[in-house]
């Protein structure tokens, strides 16, 4: 019990922990606002809320979730960058918000170096998805149909996905009709309604794939997909890039390293603890928790940032 009370006590007497310098002793100076860059009710939103709930239970900190969706996470970034960098404000986005999207919009105030990456929670299970048993349920069928002269309607849910679709088309000699829809759910609705033929989905397809309604005809990440292990990688089809990424928590830039470590550890402790609801959701819906923090995370973000720059360059050529 003592272990739970200690941080609470620490919070209430409001010691300025920065000088003490130990992540275990750190506690936020006030209630934490957690911005959620996703629409309420979706998988990502639930994930963020469950992790917050887990931290509240484990550490006794107060976390108040607040929805701030839109604009591929940049709306959240705009707001978060103005918040105090003392650990009382962080937000959940996807890694591409601070890499591809920030670069594409070009606002210097929103670049990766203006934020502190806290921790990732789950890796994308990106796949190129089509209806199972349909006319496009393998890459060979897609290619054959395209070569026969029928235009292929390719659904994408973000600018990065659209660029990736175009890039894939360039490399494989297919002139896709790229249809930008809203979110992975929009892609899947489009597939079901027959409005589009294939589309990128970053993980939400998992249930439909397992139930045999849809299929991953290719994978967008390095490692094989959990649901369709034999789907070829898009790099094998000709793409120069992966469509990889993480769900992750970020804080304003210049966050005290102690606070950063403490928050990162808290997120890890909750997400990796199989007794928490957050862990159950990550395991069921996101291919399992995938936590990266500290320098390991910084290295990934730098790498992803460089890949995003290369993709933007490749597409604008």
């Amino acid at each position: 019990m003592n272990i739970f009370l200690k941080p609470l006590l620490a919070a209430s007497v409001l010691i300025s922990s920065t000088s003490v310098g130990q992540a275990e002793d750190w506690a936020p100076p006030g209630p934490i606002t957690m911005y959620v860059g996703f629409a309420a009710g979706g998988g990502a939103d639930t994930q963020a809320r469950l992790i917050a709930q887990g931290i509240e239970e484990k550490y006794g900190w107060t976390i108040i979730p607040q929805q701030l969706p839109g604009n591929s996470g940049l709306t959240l970034a705009t707001e978060l960058v103005k918040a105090p960098a003392d650990g009382t404000a962080f937000g959940m986005v996807v890694s591409e918000t601070l890499t591809y999207s920030a670069q594409a919009v070009g606002d210097p105030a929103l670049q990766l170096d203006k934020f502190t990456a806290l921790a990732t929670t789950a890796e994308f299970q990106s796949g190129l998805v089509a209806m199972a048993g349909g006319a496009f349920d393998s890459w060979d069928k897609v290619k054959a149909t395209a070569e026969a002269g029928t235009p292929i309607r390719f659904a994408t849910a973000s600018d990065r996905q659209a660029d990736m679709a175009w890039h894939l088309g360039q490399k494989t000699g297919i002139d896709f009709n790229i249809v930008e829809v809203r979110g992975g759910a929009g892609v899947m609705d489009g597939l079901r309604g027959g409005d589009v033929d294939i589309g990128w989905v970053a993980g939400a397809q998992s249930k439909s794939v397992r139930q045999g309604e849809m299929t991953n005809i290719a994978r967008g990440i390095k490692a094989p997909l959990a649901d369709t292990p034999d789907a070829p990688a898009i790099t094998d089809l000709g793409s120069d890039f992966y469509l990889d990424g993480y769900f992750m928590f970020i804080a304003p830039g210049g966050l005290d390293p102690v606070a950063r470590e403490a928050l990162g550890n808290a997120i890890r402790a909750v997400a990796e603890d199989s007794a928490t609801e957050a862990n159950a959701l990550l395991t069921k819906g996101f291919g399992g928790p995938s936590i990266r923090t500290g320098e390991d995370l910084d290295a990934y973000m730098a790498e992803a940032n460089a890949a995003a720059a290369a993709l933007i360059k490749a597409v604008s050529e």
């Binding site: 309420a40 009710g41 639930t46 969706p69 839109g70 604009n71 600018d159 930008e180 589009v196 309604e213």
Partner: protein, 524 residues
């Protein structure tokens, strides 16, 4: 077909086996059912209070409900249960002050005063209330049956025959129709629509830099849906009513009837007398309800006029306007029959037709996991469509609501008679505070309150200038889908500028839109 029945069964189960609010002797009391009952009573109460109406109660309770139940799919049925309860209760409750005090509790109960109040004055308020209840519930039940049968069918047809260009054309048709039939002139209807579209387009769109923000960061996430809708619909109404009360404190006061006759309550032969009028009223209401934008007031007026004409042909019958049961029956059956049928375009197309439907869409939109539209009714092979289960859960709740209205509705109506005496001068300021606080709690930003007030001013001005407000709200909600489907259609067609005219179906729909604007608006 068996698959469909399976879904129906799952829907019924989802209501009764959903999360329980408390357990009595090991049997759980499903929370959705409790919320339905609570909503029904609330609905009758607000319907019976002049100055409050169903949509207002739905608007205020929505943020509360969402806070209470959260954003999980489990929240859908309890929230819908409460909202549907209000919707059904309010149509019933609106008749109470209309009959007892000659003051319609909701606008569509206007025609109920014509015969209900004289009957009450003659000393038969119970009889009038009872007739109103029976006709209202009968109309509502009929309308729900129409919904249950038509919505899945329509959705399947839409999904099977309409591609992206046709969906765009269908959306254009529905807002043109709304603009044409609501309000006094096509011009004003279109103005309302264009304002709604424009405001909705702020900071939405595909670019990573949000559009039309004038450089303000607060506008980056756009105007909150709830702020625009509640501002124009509710706050605007509060401002306008407060002004009316400011000019005349007693504008909404009531004159109670004290006389009581011994011969109160339902009279023998009443049911046989009103049945044909209830039947016709229900059909008129359901037909009109299925069209977006044409409200229950029109249905009630039409039904009443037809009944009056029919009665005139029988010289020995009691003429309408003198406290005839047929008058109450015709009105109440028709205005209640609108509500179920109104959900046909909501569930199968995602197009709201009246204020109550707007709040149901708003609820679905806020909670997530349920997107009204043709996709709701799809039955994928080998997979379960949870949205379809939700739909049948909603249908189950609606049917249960009807049963409750049949059985206990009358008692609740009589109990709510006193509510009409609450002075609106004191009620409305409290309602304003409650609405603004509820909006704040959902949006957690002062900007939401400022925008709600700004839209309140807009709503007030629109009322002053006789510009209808509902087209604004409907256009605001449909703005996103229209733009998205047009963009998707354009992109999917490989940038064909004539994509809207690429198929006969979409050309026909567009011609209908044009025809609606040219002809429907001319008639008044």
């Amino acid at each position: 077909m068996t698959e469909m029945l399976h879904y129906v069964w799952l829907g019924i189960l989802s209501v009764f086996q959903g999360p329980a609010i408390l357990e009595i002797a090991g049997v759980g009391l499903p929370v959705a059912l409790v919320m339905l009952v609570a909503g029904l009573i609330t609905g009758i109460a607000v319907g019976a209070t002049p100055g409050l109406a169903g949509p207002m109660a739905m608007a205020i309770s929505l943020p509360l409900l969402i806070s209470a139940f959260g954003f999980t799919p489990d929240a859908l049925l309890p929230v819908f249960g409460f909202l549907i309860g209000i919707m059904k209760g309010a149509t019933l409750g609106g008749a109470v002050p209309a009959i007892l005090f000659n003051l319609p509790g909701t606008p569509d109960a206007m025609m109920t005063t014509l015969d209900g109040f004289p009957m009450a004055q003659r000393g038969q308020p119970r009889r009038a209330l009872r007739i109103a209840q029976l006709s209202s519930v009968a109309g509502d039940t009929f309308s729900d049956l129409v919904l249950f049968i038509c919505a899945p069918f329509l959705a399947v047809v839409v999904e099977a025959y309409l591609d992206l260009p046709e969906k765009t054309a269908l959306l254009i048709l529905s807002i043109s129709f709304v603009a044409a039939v609501m309000g006094r002139s096509v011009g004003k209807g279109l103005l309302s629509v264009s304002l709604g579209l424009l405001v909705a387009y702020i900071a939405t769109g595909n670019d990573l830099s949000p559009r039309l923000t004038l450089g303000f960061d607060v506008l980056q996430s756009g105007i909150p849906l709830i702020a625009a809708v509640l501002g124009v619909l509710i706050v605007g109404e509060i401002f306008a009513t407060l002004e009316r009360l400011w000019l005349d404190n007693h504008a909404l006061d009531v004159i109670p009837v004290e006389k009581r006759s011994t011969q109160d309550g339902l009279q023998p032969g009443d049911i046989r007398r009103i049945s044909p009028y209830v039947g016709r009223g229900a059909v008129i209401g359901a037909l009109i309800g299925a069209l977006p934008g044409v409200g229950s007031t029109l249905a009630a007026t039409l039904s009443y006029t037809m009944a009056a004409r029919r009665i005139k042909r029988h010289p020995q019958a009691q003429p309408l306007g003198t406290g005839a049961p047929e008058g109450i029956a015709a009105t109440e059956a028709a205005n209640s029959a609108v509500s179920g049928a109104n959900l046909i375009p909501v569930l199968s197309l995602g197009i709201p037709g009246n204020a109550a439907a707007v709040f149901l869409i708003l609820a679905a939109d806020s909670i997530g996991g349920f997107n009204p539209g043709p996709g709701v009714f799809s039955m994928p092979d080998g997979a379960l469509n949870p949205q379809l289960v939700t739909v049948f859960g909603i249908f189950t709740l609606m049917s249960l609501g009807n049963v409750l209205n049949w059985t206990v509705g009358g008692g609740v109506m009589r109990a709510m008679g006193g509510l009409a005496k609450i002075p609106a001068t004191r009620l409305l300021p409290v309602v304003l505070l409650v609405s603004l606080t509820a909006i704040y709690v959902q949006e957690t930003s002062m900007f939401a309150i400022w925008s709600t007030l700004a839209f309140g001013v807009l709503g007030w001005a629109m009322r002053k200038l006789a510009v209808p407000v509902l087209p604004f709200v409907i256009a605001f909600i449909l703005a996103g889908p229209i733009e998205r489907s047009a963009r998707e259609a354009f992109a999917a067609s490989g940038a064909d500028p004539w994509f809207l005219f690429s198929s006969p179906t979409s050309v026909i729909l567009l011609l209908l839109a044009l025809a609606a604007l040219m002809f429907l608006g001319r008639e008044r």
